[in-house]
Symmetry: C2
Subunit: 346 residues, 2 copies
Amino acid sequence: MIETLQQTMLDAIETELKKQVGRLAQARTQDFHEMLTYHMGWSGEGAGSQAAGKRVRPLLLLLSVASFGDKSDDIEKKIINWLHAVPASASVELIHNFSLVHDDIQDNSELRRGRKTAWVKWGAPMAINVGDALFVIANQSVLDLQTHYPHEMVVRAAEILGECCLQLTQGQFLDMSYEERADLTIQDYWPMVGGKTSALLAACTQIGALLGYAQNSQMEDFRLFGHHLGLAFQVQDDILGIWGDEALTGKSAASDLVEGKNSLPILFGLEKNQEFAKRWKRGSVQQTEVMEIASLLEKEGARAYAERISEDETKLALGHLERAQPRGEAAEALLGLANMLLKRKQ
Amino acid sequence: MIETLQQTMLDAIETELKKQVGRLAQARTQDFHEMLTYHMGWSGEGAGSQAAGKRVRPLLLLLSVASFGDKSDDIEKKIINWLHAVPASASVELIHNFSLVHDDIQDNSELRRGRKTAWVKWGAPMAINVGDALFVIANQSVLDLQTHYPHEMVVRAAEILGECCLQLTQGQFLDMSYEERADLTIQDYWPMVGGKTSALLAACTQIGALLGYAQNSQMEDFRLFGHHLGLAFQVQDDILGIWGDEALTGKSAASDLVEGKNSLPILFGLEKNQEFAKRWKRGSVQQTEVMEIASLLEKEGARAYAERISEDETKLALGHLERAQPRGEAAEALLGLANMLLKRKQ
């Protein structure tokens, strides 16, 4: 039953995304349209669900809406409730993808979900424009809420997205400006991941509650649920980026140690200023040293620290979710999605 | 009197722009904020009104609003009428500047209004993010209309901006895709400049009419006024880009012939397929050949053709403006602004 609701939502999300991106499917801009459909995972070499990604953000938004749904067993009512919010779910996924396209240019990343990135295929100038178009369409999508919601709520949803996008650019700025700095501490970590990861997840759950006609206090709890979920997820990702099987063996994911990423365990190690910090400041890490340095960092307490933080943030997230009293199968699915994101067993 | 109204508006625009961009003036993102204030012409080397540009678009929007103002001589009423629309005027100027920052990266332009461009100063990755932030703040600004307008009108204004921005990205796509093509004709010109230049001017005048509580037919006339004004302006600019004093002498503006720009006179020459077209296809033009090739293009009729088109578009623009019956000093100022843009004597 939960599976079915999620799948129904995922289908609706994909249909809406294709419709929204279809705004560019005009006579003279077919090739432009194809650049967007390629990035979204629908066309070109390697197209398919693997290339599209998991659509976690729109799903989080729709499940949030549905968790404020009618208590009755009237399936149709429940579906209508979240169906009306589908344009907002497309909007958050498009914002996510706009930021990925620009990120890939900024980070010089050649691969995304196993496929060539947009700038590798069409050059940076075209890819900048592809990202811009995804962002424009994201802004247009959220306005389509007006079909089923009062204009005041449409403006409120657009405001939440605007604030979230501003935080995205601030997180991106911090991330880039950290590259030249050798004096970072853990205090520098939170505003960066707050912008880069948490802001959009918080917008998803907050807008979900808004569009589910939740009360203000529930909206705030949902915002904080998304915020802490984002932080817990990012820290979890940071742990896997150093001690995950793939990072250690270098088989498919590059280690954060090799990439020199300013992740939480690394900033912890720098702040400790012991053996790891000395090695880190000597210059870039080779794949052959990864096991040894990861082990050094673990001995200095970075892994335990990050795991505790991830656990704390998870508890905060789930606490806020519980307090808002989400209902029915959507609430169960929401918990399932959070656990999936955090790679926890339920 | 007209001067005073325009100057009052320009002051209000600048104050609002600084307030909106000030969203980034937070503890950790001061340097980021400065990148935006530099581009806007307020800070850094060469700051000042020359660096800021003429703010034509926001002025066009506010004059449009004011031209639907009260007929009475109550100055205060008139001012209040356009003052309420100031957040929308900031929005169009920010959209313009977002597109300039990304354009400069895409075109590899090192100078903008006589100063180093953002990517030259901070690198392309940072500059992409500067453009993104300007666009985010543009989206936030328009929502601030809700202080004085019903939410339905706010959503409508945001919709008009969304459609306009989509056209901007389409025009930008066409412009970039034309670089590799040798088979362009005049037919390829209009959708490009329609997106790159006209769409935003049309949005300014249309939103101005909307926020002036104009009737639907007046709104449509104002949209078409901006649209044709944009086309006339672009063609005029194309003419000056080849036969203007600066283009011919190379003193401060590079000739469109040297830059290989797909401007209207050049596409006319290519379509003619005579001597100019032969020379054009042989490879890039040097500054020393500019006089000769400009003269060749003029002999083949390109200049007369472009001047006729510019004149036609001007007539269309002014016809639509007249039909909407704008009123008072704002209407006069609007006509003055149009003539200034088209470098015509009144």
